[in-house]
């Protein structure tokens, strides 16, 4: 099905609405993949027998000559539009403020306060962490839900449902090389994994103190999980990091994030004291909610990365519920 889908997509991009999917397909395949593309042709065939200008024009539209003309026009227009947009955008650039100029409008009271009072107001030595997890935490909450939404969408496409009504679900193919990595990779992984894992955890935990944070630390953790699964096989990794664990970890992290931030939003909007101490700047347990939030973001990012890998590796994932 995926093969047909790519073929129809290619034909859509190349030849536009009026061409059917490939000719070498069986009728059943064609019916499946080209419902969307072929519909106009079906009834064009009906009116083809009629006389008069409009029916004749419409039936001409179904001919290969029209499809070729359409394809050529499509290409020409695509090139022209791309060039026009590029030129217009390039022409606009000289009108914008010069890059890196200290008098630019972007260097206004907003960034000034982030830099000057960020440490005092958020307690985070890392101003960026203070900005994304305290000043503009709502945006970041949205961003972590973007990751979650992407994970859901991929799961909708790739999750294989054994309890489904249809029996002819293809078997999930185990990747040929799963668990058969060569000895170099295994030994290198044994040395690398402790280092990368600890480094990832360090980056997450120190997000409010030094460069890094949940997003970058989570990426490191996710990458080390992928490396583990490559070297020792997904079966062994699933003993302690299965899809179910991944799902519940994401759930817990996102719920914790939403609850913590809701509390902070609610108290902020109602002008209540939040009662969260900012601690001593520079200490590990400081900067209020930023440390737990970084942990949550780190979990979400690591789980998202690993589950993407796990789903795409075998082209499907067993239903976890």
């Amino acid at each position: 099905m995926i093969r047909n889908w790519f073929r129809s997509l290619y034909h859509w991009a190349e030849e536009g609405e009026f061409s059917a999917a490939g000719e070498d397909q069986s009728p059943a395949e064609q019916e499946e993949s080209s419902v969307c593309l072929d519909e106009s042709n079906a009834w064009l065939a009906e009116v083809r027998s009629d006389e008069g200008f409009v029916p004749r024009f419409l039936s001409w539209l179904g001919t290969p000559a029209a499809a070729a003309l359409y394809r050529d026009l499509y290409r020409v227009f695509a090139a022209v539009i791309c060039l026009t947009v590029t030129i217009v955008l390039l022409v606009t650039v000289p009108f914008l403020p010069e890059f890196g100029n200290p008098d630019n409008p972007a260097n206004n009271e907003v960034s000034e306060r982030y830099i000057e009072r960020g440490l005092e107001e958020t307690g985070a030595t890392n101003i960026v962490a203070g900005m994304i997890l305290d000043y503009r935490a709502f945006d970041t909450l949205g961003e972590s839900n973007v990751l979650f939404a992407a994970m859901c969408s991929v799961a909708i496409l790739l999750r294989v449902d054994r309890k489904g009504k249809e029996a002819n679900i293809p078997e999930i193919q185990v990747w040929r090389w799963d668990g058969k990595a060569n000895i170099y990779l295994r030994h290198a992984t044994k040395i690398l994994i402790p280092v990368t894992m600890i480094f990832g955890i360090f980056v997450v935990l120190n997000g409010h103190l030094s460069a890094g944070g949940g997003f970058s630390g989570g990426t490191i953790l996710g990458a080390s999980l992928i490396l583990l699964s490559n070297a020792f096989g997904s079966k062994r990794l699933e003993h302690y990091f299965s899809n179910t664990v991944c799902k519940w970890l994401t759930f817990a992290a996102l719920m914790a994030y939403a609850c913590l931030k809701s509390y902070s939003f609610f108290t902020g909007a109602n002008h209540l004291e939040s009662g969260i101490s900012l601690g001593t700047p520079g200490a590990l347990f400081s900067a209020g909610l930023i440390l737990p939030l970084n942990l949550c973001v780190g979990c979400v990012v690591a789980c998202t990365m690993y589950s993407f890998y796990a789903m795409f590796r075998s082209g499907g994932i067993e239903d976890g519920v």
Binding site: S33, P97, P105, A137, A149, I156
Partner: protein, 501 residues
């Protein structure tokens, strides 16, 4: 701060967490949770609307301990609250009306993810309505792009749905990419992301003649970005496939709500950042007016040529989006008000039509071709009644919701002068005639006797669930209410738009 003022924030957080909660629930539980969430959101938003109408003003809600421009904030006014209550309510009714089809079309193991995506989609819509910050709007546009693709792709046993999703994804990404370029240019010029500060900064810099060109380009980028995402005429090619192949509830919520949230954001940008007079001086509305008029005519012509009921409804959405852009393109207050009422009218009507189409399909062997649907309204009278009300509303018959749009748009068009009046009136008249042609043809086809009744075949009759019956009845009543009491809605819209500037 009164407790009722917290409700918009509560609703956004409920929807956001709802997406996460649904992902760990079982299918039936997720469905019930999602319905409950939408019902609660509708009630909370109705209370917010009552509060804002009573106070006659808007208020700012801080998202955190830092006031803008440093932190994030929401702005809640009568217009946003009106849109939110209508959208939440329509979402509830759409889910109820399409519930059976969701369970038929999706695989059981994915239904909970479907409801999770719907919940996230609603969170993004409500957040786009209320946000007071351009970048927050962008973040939630991202969520809506991803989840909107997911609710189409879930129906993937229909091979065409996958192609449609891919098209939709490519076009959606293009739209949000163009929008993001616009945001970064505007930020470069002004140094702000908050609507109020942006407005002040734009007013300050527009005295300098050198910024006229980049501002025009930025307005153009915003219009093109949101135009692609809301399927304005030359960018609409993704819509018929996407809405024609999704499950009934998905089609309904995509054309009823997701397109509208993007248009509403564009209205907010126009009114609150640039101001109507300034926008008119950049001549972008003139282009939107022409595109809107073209959409009204060509969308209707395409619908007339279509032999597939759901694709016909999808092309009708293209035409109806054209009405909204026609109103925006007039560049007057009256035009904006007409555009806003059209957002509501279409949100009330199109999901009802899609749910009715789902009902027809299930009594006609799952086909959505006109020939197979012949006589479907006899087998499923409730869907037939809903379809008839929806069709009359879309044509613009008095007493039905669509009449409010046609009336207000025509009045706004008559107040214009020059070529615009003639273009608008001609487009409205032509589109109304075409709407009448294809809707009445479809209604006649659905109501007529099937051609060769097979004597052996068991007559298929619709089995109604209480959810479907409630949904259709409430939709019909709402449609008549909006048609008869459109004055109330117009007053709220008028007040809300006054507070925008």
């Amino acid at each position: 701060m009164a407790a009722v003022q917290n409700f918009p924030f509560v609703v956004i957080m409920l929807y956001l967490t709802g997406g996460v909660v649904c992902s760990v629930l079982r299918a039936r539980a997720a469905a019930r949770y999602c319905l409950l969430l939408n019902a609660a959101a509708t009630v909370l938003m109705a209370m917010t609307l009552a509060y804002t109408l009573q106070s006659g003003s808007s208020y700012i809600y801080l998202m955190g301990h830092f006031s803008a421009p440093w932190g994030n904030e929401l702005r809640i006014g009568p217009l946003e609250a009106l849109m939110a209550v209508c959208f939440c309510g329509v979402m509830l009714l759409t889910l109820m009306g399409g519930m059976e089809h969701i369970f038929e079309d999706c695989e059981p193991g994915k239904i909970n993810l479907y409801f999770g995506s719907v919940s996230l989609l609603m969170s993004s819509i409500v957040a786009i309505l209320f946000t007071n910050d351009l970048f927050t709007a962008y973040v939630f546009i991202e969520i809506s792009s991803i989840t909107a693709c997911a609710v189409i792709a879930v129906n993937y046993r229909n091979g065409a749905a996958l192609v449609a999703t891919t098209r939709y994804m490519i076009m959606g990404l293009l739209g949000s990419g163009v929008f993001l370029i616009g945001i970064s240019m505007l930020y470069d010029l002004t140094g702000h992301l908050l609507f109020e500060n942006l407005g002040a900064a734009v007013r300050a810099i527009s005295e300098d003649a050198g910024t006229l060109f980049p501002l025009t380009i930025i307005i153009g980028l915003f219009s093109v970005g949101m135009g692609i995402k809301s399927a304005l005429f030359p960018f609409h090619t993704w819509l018929p496939c996407a809405h024609g192949n999704a499950t009934a509830a998905s089609s309904g919520m995509l054309s009823g709500l997701v397109l509208k949230a993007n248009v509403f954001l564009l209205i907010k940008i126009f009114c609150r950042i640039f101001g109507l007079e300034s926008i008119v001086s950049h001549h972008v509305p003139d282009i939107l007016l022409v595109f809107g008029a073209c959409a009204m005519v060509f969308g209707s012509v395409s619908a007339l040529l279509e032999r597939d009921l759901k694709r016909m409804l999808a092309y009708s959405s293209v035409a109806q989006i054209g009405y909204i852009y026609l109103g925006i393109g007039m560049g007057t207050k009256a035009g904006m008000e007409a555009a806003c009422i059209q957002i509501l009218v279409h949100a009330f009507t199109k999901p009802m039509l899609f749910c009715a189409a789902g009902g027809f399909m299930s009594v006609s062997g799952g086909s959505k071709k006109m020939d197979a649907l012949r006589g479907a309204a006899r087998r499923d009278p409730l869907s037939g009644a809903a379809f008839l009300v929806g069709a009359l509303s879309m044509i613009g018959i008095p007493l039905f919701a669509g009449f409010a749009t046609k009336l207000n748009l025509t009045l706004a068009a008559l107040a214009l002068h020059g070529w615009k009046t003639w273009a608008c009136v001609a487009a409205i008249v032509l589109s109304t005639v075409l709407n009448g042609l294809y809707y009445l043809r479809a209604a006649a086809n659905l109501c007529s006797e099937p051609e060769q009744p097979d004597p052996k075949a068991e007559p298929v009759h619709a089995r109604y669930s209480w959810q479907f019956v409630t949904s259709m009845c409430v939709f019909i009543v709402l449609n008549l209410y909006l048609g008869i009491c459109s004055g109330r809605f117009m007053d709220a819209i008028h007040l809300g738009l006054e507070l925008f500037s």
